[in-house]
């Protein structure tokens, strides 16, 4: 009589070592198939208590800022050099004059603010004035102690601007309201609601690339031009401090 217990223990599938080997290779195979994701995710949990702390994060961010600042400085230098070659307008941090608003007429017909800096401080007619957010207007008159700014919302104001996303130039015309009109002298242009508007880099009146506003709506019904309504970034009716940008040739 054959001993059945002995037979079962000798069959290959009943050998524990073999199952262990199969399981091991299946694991290896799954690791291979998953392209090591399992290990990586496991390592995520294992290494979590030893991750770099806030201090190291600040070191990394600080060096990143330094790197970006160096790049900006270099780009500014390049930009200034190129603009000098093209004889276009430019401005620098040294040429900014801080001024406070001492009178404001933004509601009625007149759209102007009066600043407490004048010719004595170096303010000249035609200098650009920026508030928190972007351009608010251009110096229209300068007395010895004060200067008045014609706001972009004035019906007399006309400024060359450009849509930075699609590199299209246009003319920003004041309408008396807080939302000036932007006229592109061509139809079927790549202009969208939400596009940012900056002062034109080709302008001979204003320093380049000063933020001005965001396109609020588009009127495509006009015959030969594309007209957009622009929401200004800097709101003159709520600004108390401004900076006058001295134009450098």
């Amino acid at each position: 009589m054959i001993d059945t217990r002995r037979i079962s223990s000798t069959r290959w599938w009943n050998k524990r070592n073999l199952w262990f080997l199969i399981l091991f290779f299946l694991t290896i195979f799954s690791v291979r198939i998953s392209k090591n994701y399992i290990y990586q995710d496991l390592y995520y949990f294992i290494s979590k208590p030893f991750w770099p702390g806030q201090f190291q994060r600040e070191i990394v961010l600080d060096s990143k800022y330094k790197e970006l600042n160096m790049k900006i400085t270099q780009l500014n230098k390049d930009n200034k050099r190129l603009r000098e070659i093209l004889t276009l307008q430019s401005s620098s941090d040294e040429s900014k004059i801080n001024a406070s608003v001492i009178s404001r007429q933004t509601g009625s017909w007149w759209k102007q603010v009066l600043l407490n800096k004048g010719k004595k401080d170096g303010v000249e007619i035609g200098d650009a004035v920026i508030g928190p957010g972007g351009l608010i207007g251009i110096i229209e008159n300068a007395s010895f102690l004060t200067s008045s700014v014609k706001l972009l919302t004035s019906t007399e104001s006309k400024v060359g601007v450009w849509n930075q996303r699609s590199n299209i130039h246009g003319l920003l015309v004041g309408q008396g309201t807080n939302s000036p009109q932007l006229i592109f002298y061509s139809k079927d242009l790549d202009v969208q609601v939400g596009d940012f508007i900056f002062s034109s880099p080709a302008s001979t009146l204003l320093p380049p690339n000063i933020p001005i506003g965001i396109i609020e709506s588009l009127d495509k019904d006009s015959q030969s031009t594309l007209i957009a309504v622009v929401q200004l970034v800097a709101r003159p009716e709520a600004i108390d401090w401004v900076q006058v940008l001295k134009i450098q040739f």
Binding site: Q105, S108, W109, T177, Q181
Partner: protein, 166 residues
């Protein structure tokens, strides 16, 4: 000197009008629009001194206001017309014009001045005229007419007292 100032005090108050435009107190504005201070001064002055004086002071006020900003448009026609109009009211008895009518006359004067000013903007921008420009004009006219009319009884009564005393 004191005598001269006392004698011409009513005319000297004229010099304070530009400061009111600059000061532009926010609590006296309606939808950001200030009262037409020039009309509030011109009405009592012209009423007391007659149409010719009204014409002259209207012209002077217009020149001063135009110098405050360098817009292409002028306040002179409106203020001159109001100066003459208010001056012609002097032929009526003073008692027949009560303080509530001050508001009405000042509002009317403000309407004339604003309408003439807006007319200039309208014709200058006729080719680019759009709903924004029109709505801004209408809002400004009505807000200024209303706030000028509201303040007129207080301001004009005070000015009438000063001008009559002097």
């Amino acid at each position: 000197m004191k005598k001269i100032i006392n004698k011409n005090f009513s005319l000297l108050t004229f010099l304070f009008i530009p400061f009111l435009f600059f000061g532009n107190p926010k609590f006296l504005t309606l939808m950001g629009v200030e009262p037409y201070w020039a009309i509030l001064w011109l009405f009592p002055w012209s009423y007391i001194n007659g149409p010719f004086n009204g014409f002259l002071t209207g012209l002077a006020l217009g020149i001063v206001l135009d110098s405050l900003n360098s817009d292409f448009y002028t306040h002179i026609p409106g203020l001159v017309a109001c100066g003459i109009l208010f001056g012609r009211l002097s032929s009526y008895k003073f008692d027949s014009i009560n303080i509530f009518k001050y508001g009405l006359f000042c509002a009317l004067g403000s309407l004339i001045c604003n309408f003439l000013y807006w007319g200039q903007i309208f014709f200058n921008n006729y080719s680019d005229m759009n709903i924004l420009l029109v709505s801004h004009g209408i809002k400004t006219i009505f807000a200024q007419v209303f706030i000028t009319g509201i303040l007129a009884p207080i301001v004009c009564t005070w000015l009438f007292n000063i001008f009559k005393k002097k």
